[in-house]
């Protein structure tokens, strides 16, 4: 129980730190941060439930006013920004990423976490993300999807890195990749 509580809290802290780390610019000029990779990692490393709880804790404390989202955003304002759908979808994304990684125990951890990160961290996350953008920017769903496309290359890179990190962690310390236990 204690280990579970501590892991959930420390991974929530890890998501915050990854968002505060310097941004990387894509060739398209869109800045990407490692924060959404932190969401994917919560799922692929901690598993569905613990991963989703860590993300939920992070979002709740951000809503309470801690400026922990990438770019130093925080407070209730983030729920009034165009990224509201993505933020609300983060726990679901971590849950699905973790669920897929833990269900595909028979295949290599790299591929199971890559699949988890792509389905959970991209496909599932983009559904509320696009709906949120559509409402906040007053655009149709297809128009909002077109806008969200600029984040896709960055998210694909992050899903790949997430799988690589989970795989390396599994090789170094298999007991720490709770989604595979």
């Amino acid at each position: 129980m204690e280990k579970k509580i501590v892991l959930v809290s420390l991974f929530a802290a890890l998501i915050a730190v990854l968002g505060l780390a310097p941004k990387v610019m894509l060739a398209s000029g869109v800045p990407i941060t490692a924060q959404s990779m932190g969401i994917m990692l919560c799922g692929t490393v901690l598993g569905a439930q613990r991963g989703a709880l860590a993300v939920l804790l992070f979002i709740t404390l951000t809503a309470l006013g801690l400026p922990l989202l990438s770019g130093g955003r925080g407070g209730l304002g983030v729920f009034a920004s165009p990224s509201v759908g993505f933020i609300v979808g983060f726990p679901l994304a971590a849950f699905v990423a973790g669920w897929i990684t833990s269900k595909l125990k028979l295949i290599n951890v790299f591929y199971s976490s890559l699949l988890g990160a792509i389905i959970g961290g991209i496909l599932i996350l983009y559904i509320p993300g696009i709906v949120g953008m559509s409402i906040m920017l007053d655009k149709s769903i297809s128009e909002a999807a077109l806008i969200a496309l600029i984040y896709l290359p960055g998210d694909c890179i992050k899903a790949f890195l997430c799988a690589m990190l989970t795989h390396t962690l599994f090789k170094l310390r298999p007991e720490n990749v709770l989604s595979r236990i």
């Binding site: 129980m1 204690e2 280990k3 509580i5 501590v6 892991l7 959930v8 809290s9 420390l10 991974f11 929530a12 802290a13 890890l14 915050a16 730190v17 990854l18 505060l20 780390a21 990387v24 800045p31 490692a34 990779m37 990692l41 490393v45 709880l53 804790l57 992070f58 709740t60 404390l61 809503a63 309470l64 006013g65 801690l66 400026p67 922990l68 770019g71 130093g72 955003r73 925080g74 407070g75 209730l76 304002g77 729920f79 009034a80 920004s81 165009p82 906040m136 920017l137 007053d138 655009k139 128009e143 806008i147 600029i150 890195l161 990190l165 390396t168 962690l169 170094l172 310390r173 720490n176």
Partner: protein, 200 residues
């Protein structure tokens, strides 16, 4: 250190958080019914002027908080320049700034403890479920205590990588960071087991 607060005390802090949040919810819902750019602009100017009443420092701080919206402004402006409907684009941009600014006023003028109390009230029906409220409080405490520590560790790893390779690290330091977090988790869990009386 982590909280998002105004640099100075204002009388807004004295208004109950529940009233501020209720007003914010009503205002946010109402703003979506406004389709006049002029009214939206006037309302935005009114909120900015309201913040100016508390002094230049608070206004500067509040305007700084609006910066994360700029990439979205660029996207909307580009989109509406392309479709030729600039008035609609301007209306959306003003609405975004207005709602975001109002929410920031509430956040920056409200004690984190007060907001947390409201959330606890909203979540109170959960007491009848199996959710361990003590564990949730402990999670919050560990998170607030350890975020600056993990951030400091990230800085050290960043510096170490830069010193040894001469390049700026990006994803390379994430794995060592996760490993240190896992080590911390072991130590903190052990301390909790031996010192706390957490009911499982």
């Amino acid at each position: 250190m982590l909280a998002l607060r105004y640099p100075q005390q204002t009388w807004l802090e004295k208004i109950p958080a529940s009233l501020k949040m209720a007003l914010l919810a009503i205002a946010t819902s109402g703003i979506f019914f406004i389709d006049s750019t002029k009214i939206m602009f006037l309302l935005f100017v009114a909120t900015i002027s309201f913040q100016f009443l508390f002094g230049w420092q608070i206004l500067k701080f509040s305007l700084g908080l609006l910066k994360p919206l700029l990439p979205f402004v660029a996207i909307i402006a580009f989109w509406h320049l392309f479709t030729g409907d600039l008035t609609q684009g301007l209306l959306i941009i003003l609405r975004l700034f207005l709602i975001f600014n109002l929410a920031n006023i509430v956040t920056c003028s409200t004690n984190m403890g007060e907001i947390s109390e409201i959330i606890e009230k909203i979540l109170s029906p959960l007491r009848f479920t199996k959710i361990n409220i003590q564990a949730v409080s402990l999670c919050v405490i560990i998170f607030i205590r350890f975020t600056p520590i993990v951030l400091e560790r990230h800085k050290i790893l960043h510096l170490a990588y830069k010193c040894r390779s001469g390049k700026r690290p990006s994803w390379q330091i994430i794995l060592p960071l996760i490993l240190t977090v896992m080590d911390d988790a072991d130590h903190v869990a052990q301390s909790l087991r031996s010192r706390s009386n957490l009911k499982v």
